[in-house]
Point group: none
Chain length 182, copies 4
DNA sequence: AATGAATGAGGATTCATTCAT
DNA sequence: GATGAATGAATCCTCATTCAT
């Protein structure tokens, strides 16, 4: 299927360095067929990214509906994210390769998803501050700090042989939760 | 000067999307002149990156020589890094645009510098664990967690209008130091 | 067809001075199309040369199989070569333009073909010397002398209006055969 | 001196593949200096070729003044040419690399010189035919045949280790003179 | 007069996109 | 609908020539 092939190749080489030919070869179809389904290389890329994050979005929306405690939300949410990227390393690669740059001006679902999860954390932290059990810190800063630590866990995992993810998630959550505690 | 122009354009568009012509125009010189000084686009890019991190390296080497306490090292080191990138946002952009993948296989000073700072943190954390005032956590995980939080501060600053860096650095250090404390 | 257009343009200007654009224009196709078929200008050139000499090679191989007398071999072989180049002046031009130096390091069929014909002559002359009806001369020198005289016939013809090739071939063969006779 | 350096480099690489920089480096002078003396690369090339053939021209003019017999003229003239090119292999290389192609449209002394020597031979042969001791052949064809055989001697010599030029010249002259004899 | 840094037109090659089959 | 050959704009790099010092 085209999207799978594209995911694989984009993850391998990054957007700019990927040839549409490579994707066609990987998908074992003609190059023209790709253009029959996606109007441009760029649109294909956006589709790849968007589809990829659907699964994650579903989980996250489940989570939000549950109205869990802040700590649970953090624990479960971060675990979801870490697991998702560890199970879908190609999406991780794409995020790492292409997110930071605005060359592609991705106005995709994925970006909004990322913002939304951050937003959820921000809300939780705000509540914690109001409720008095979290230090008075910038909630946005704190939320993204946590997310960036989760990214470190993913990256470490993808390079390592042993699966220490449980322990690692636990470690960063301890750091974070203890760190923001009043 | 060529390096300045190149820095600006690479930071704006990333390596692949940058034309040598753009750099020449930015530098207000002929395209050929660039090739007089740097044998290829790639070599120019490496030169840009390397030069950029010289200043940071000097500061960091000063720091190491001082044999400061772990907490001082962390406080001063993180402040240096954050300040450097906030003062040199183009280098920050380049690091963000080109580091994560190894498309360019940058074997530059910048990469080694990054590793070295991480290594310094790792050593400090190890000592802290031995000395008993730091929790038993993976030192590498902890070190990169801190560095990634510092990156969040930089990123937040570059998007914000107000300079909250002092407070933000203080916040993440509090989170981190309290979080890893036994 | 690409090879024909390339032959024409290479013959007109020589390898270095030929633009791939010129060939594309001559062939009335897009420049990219050429690269679809030949990975580089150089490969295209080699293909042109190789194809060109296929016909000549076939004739020559026929000749060798026939086990003709030395004089017949010389007469027929030289006639073949002269005719071939007069009928394919573009190949002649290419040979003249690009053979003498090894700038292009052509390790093509054409070069081997040339060597092989020379070798055949050398063998024939050696036999003649052994058999006693040819003077004791360096066979290599003699063989290449004959070949160079044939080249003169071709060159003369390509500049002239009248077709004196029969007479001219006869002349140089007379000179040569009488000249080497004991 | 510029002309010497240029001769060396042109002979090494051919006209198109020679950079003016290479010549400047060989001459150990600045590139600009070359353009102070010669208005263009092409003019420099022509100057190299022309100067090179001055010596040969002098010898040849001496020869013509002497009003020698045809056979002497041939023997001495061919020897002069062969010796000249063997002693000046760079000129030989240049002639081989650049003569046949008309890309450069060399309207230089060298070309005229070549024509003049050929013309001398032609005249001699014509006289021989009139006088009845030479076969009725196209004098131009015969003259250039001889010259091309001389070229073979030069080429053989430049590739060989041993100096067989005396014998070789003798061989081709025997072939030629006996061959054209009535 | 000599220099060599600067120039930019020119050339080989790539690759996203089109379109005839 | 699928294909992949054809396209040519875009890009990296070269090098003959100029010109300020």
């Amino acid at each position: 299927m085209i999207l799978n092939a594209a995911l694989k190749v984009f993850a391998r080489s990054g957007y700019e360095a990927t040839d549409v030919d490579d994707i066609a070869r990987e998908a074992q179809i003609g190059k023209g067929t790709i253009y029959r389904h996606y109007p441009s290389k760029r649109d294909l890329f956006v589709a790849v990214v968007d589809r990829g994050f659907d699964q994650l979005r579903c989980q996250m929306e489940d989570l939000r509906d549950k109205d869990a405690s802040f700590e649970d939300m953090v624990r479960i949410g971060i675990k979801q994210q870490v697991d998702f990227f560890i199970n879908n390393p190609d999406y991780w690669r794409i995020l790492m390769l292409e997110k930071p740059d605005c060359r592609l001006n991705l106005d995709s679902e994925a970006v909004r998803l990322h913002q939304r999860f951050g937003q959820g954390l921000v809300e939780g932290i705000k509540k914690g501050i109001s409720a008095g059990y979290v230090k008075k810190i910038d909630p946005v800063l704190a939320a993204f700090s946590l997310m960036s630590m989760a990214a470190v866990v993913v990256e470490k995992h993808l390079q390592a042989k042993k699966d220490t993810r449980k322990k690692d998630i636990s470690s960063i959550l301890d750091i974070f939760l203890r760190g923001i505690q009043k």
